[in-house]
Symmetry: C2
Subunit: 302 residues, 2 copies
């Protein structure tokens, strides 16, 4: 029997806690707002305690996928912390410590997007490749990267939303929403940027609106940047904005135009529709990813 | 006794062949122009044959670092080939095959920059880190990337010179030299781009020339892009352009400005002079890198 894993998706606005063994076996799920850590973390603990008591079953590990930045390095003194974040109250907050103390079980910890990437690798759209990138385009833009089957951390963890982007003010005078960089990828192409640029929430724009060609252009620039830097075997684009599935053909076509034949791989040139793809797990990607992080911890990753 | 390795740096304009065991023990070196493969590869073979005969010593393996693009995947049918390249005569050329046939010893094969990165990891400026990027800024711009001690290949291999770059035509009207992308990193910041923009060879520009502030700006954008994508523990900048050592303080300062405090790592914020560094091997980086590729092949990597 597969061990039961507790899943915590810690988003900037809401927490999603779940219990399950994988994307096809999520047994329970609750959502509540992300408030101060002193209120939110006890609520997470209480959820898993209550669930175990009510079901008479023990959770074997917990996977915690968090908004960034965080410290995912097990050998660091601040491992398991949310580090310097603009989110009020959460800077330098140990989130793994309280969970370990409460349950005494392995706690997996990483960025939400690294978790989602791992979930896509285990069960979703990237099962057959070893090296790929997962981007989520929603209220922000984040990237999780798997290299030879392992989550990439490096110095801290990737922050793909903040790569510099070319912007032609004659075509797009919108200066971007990022408080740090203005017109970085996130500042130009996340959901709030689309809404602010066109003065209409992104979800209310019809598929014919020119907003989507511009959006596809920026996402294709991001894909070209990823291709040239990481040489991924696949790029998975998820998040709320990518639920506009009509974006995929546009992003693929524009990526080929922007690469302009430079990368001579049949996977890109001949099969782009299998190269830039939606997540295989759909809206279960978040919970599944955290379950995968918990499984990793249970298997002995620290 | 360390086994003797043959080193082949295959550049677009010249070949450098050497014999040695590491950067401090390069016993011989020759240079000749890169012409057609049917002329160049026999000349490489002849060099090693003659060297062995004259010295009565056997070379145990050869490391071949090539201009790109190439196929560095051992399980591919075109492994060891230079693939589609604008360089006349070299498209789809098997370079490993003739060497294997001539010598019957292990042949290491990769891009020249992946070789140089491996050399810097083994003997140079990146011995104490596991994940880093090596950029060479010369007649072109290339990047070698090491993740957890292993060369990153992914789909093919990185082509960091071709990442998209923001360019403000009001500040820099020069449209770039890249035949594929115009104003990509290589098109804006490689040596020939500097020369074409200012109508003076880069080597003749004084350190006070405004060319270098603009160059530092583009290289800093590249560093920010690398930091946000790979989260490297160090960035090594090599190649002919970086022999202008006055560029380093400018690139470091501009990288910090462009990151704008977003990446809260002391390695970046407090010790940038140890984060963005010149190669430790100087002008031996190329030969040493190819020796490292040969050692890798000898150790059993295919």
């Amino acid at each position: 029997m597969e061990p039961l894993i507790g899943s915590v998706e810690a988003g900037g606005t809401k927490m999603v806690c779940a219990v399950g063994t994988g994307p096809d076996d999520i047994r329970d799920e609750v959502r509540f707002p992300t408030t101060a850590p002193g209120e939110t973390l006890p609520r997470v603990i209480d959820y898993f305690r209550t669930w175990q008591a009510e079901h008479g079953e023990a959770i074997a590990a917990i996977g915690y996928g968090t908004f960034g930045p965080c410290d995912p390095h097990p050998d660091s003194p601040t491992y398991g912390w949310v580090t310097k974040t603009p989110k009020p109250g959460w800077s330098d907050t140990d989130v793994v410590g309280p969970l370990r103390e409460a349950f005494g079980i392995p706690i997996g910890f990483d960025t939400d997007v690294n978790g989602a990437a791992l979930g896509e690798h285990r069960w979703g759209a990237a099962q057959d490749v070893a090296t790929f990138a997962y981007l989520t385009i929603g209220t922000g833009i984040g990237g999780g990267i798997i290299i030879d089957g392992q989550i990439l951390h490096g110095l801290i963890h990737p922050e793909v939303g903040h790569i510099p982007m070319p912007r032609d003010p004659a075509i797009d005078p919108f200066a971007g929403t990022c408080p740090f960089h203005g017109d970085c990828l996130e500042g130009l192409a996340a959901g709030p940027a689309i809404g602010a640029r066109w003065q209409v929430p992104a979800t209310e724009l019809t598929p014919e609106h020119p907003a989507w060609d511009l959006e596809a252009h920026y996402l294709a620039l991001a894909c070209r940047s990823l291709v040239c830097t990481l040489s991924p075997q696949r790029i998975v684009l998820g998040g709320g904005v990518m639920e506009q599935l009509h974006l995929f053909p546009k992003v693929r076509a524009r990526t080929l135009e922007l690469l302009n034949g430079y990368v001579q791989a049949p996977q890109v040139l001949e099969r782009i529709e299998e190269y830039i793809v939606p997540p295989g797990l759909g809206n279960r990607a978040g919970a599944a990813g955290c379950i995968a992080l918990g499984q990793l911890a249970l298997a002995g990753a620290p």
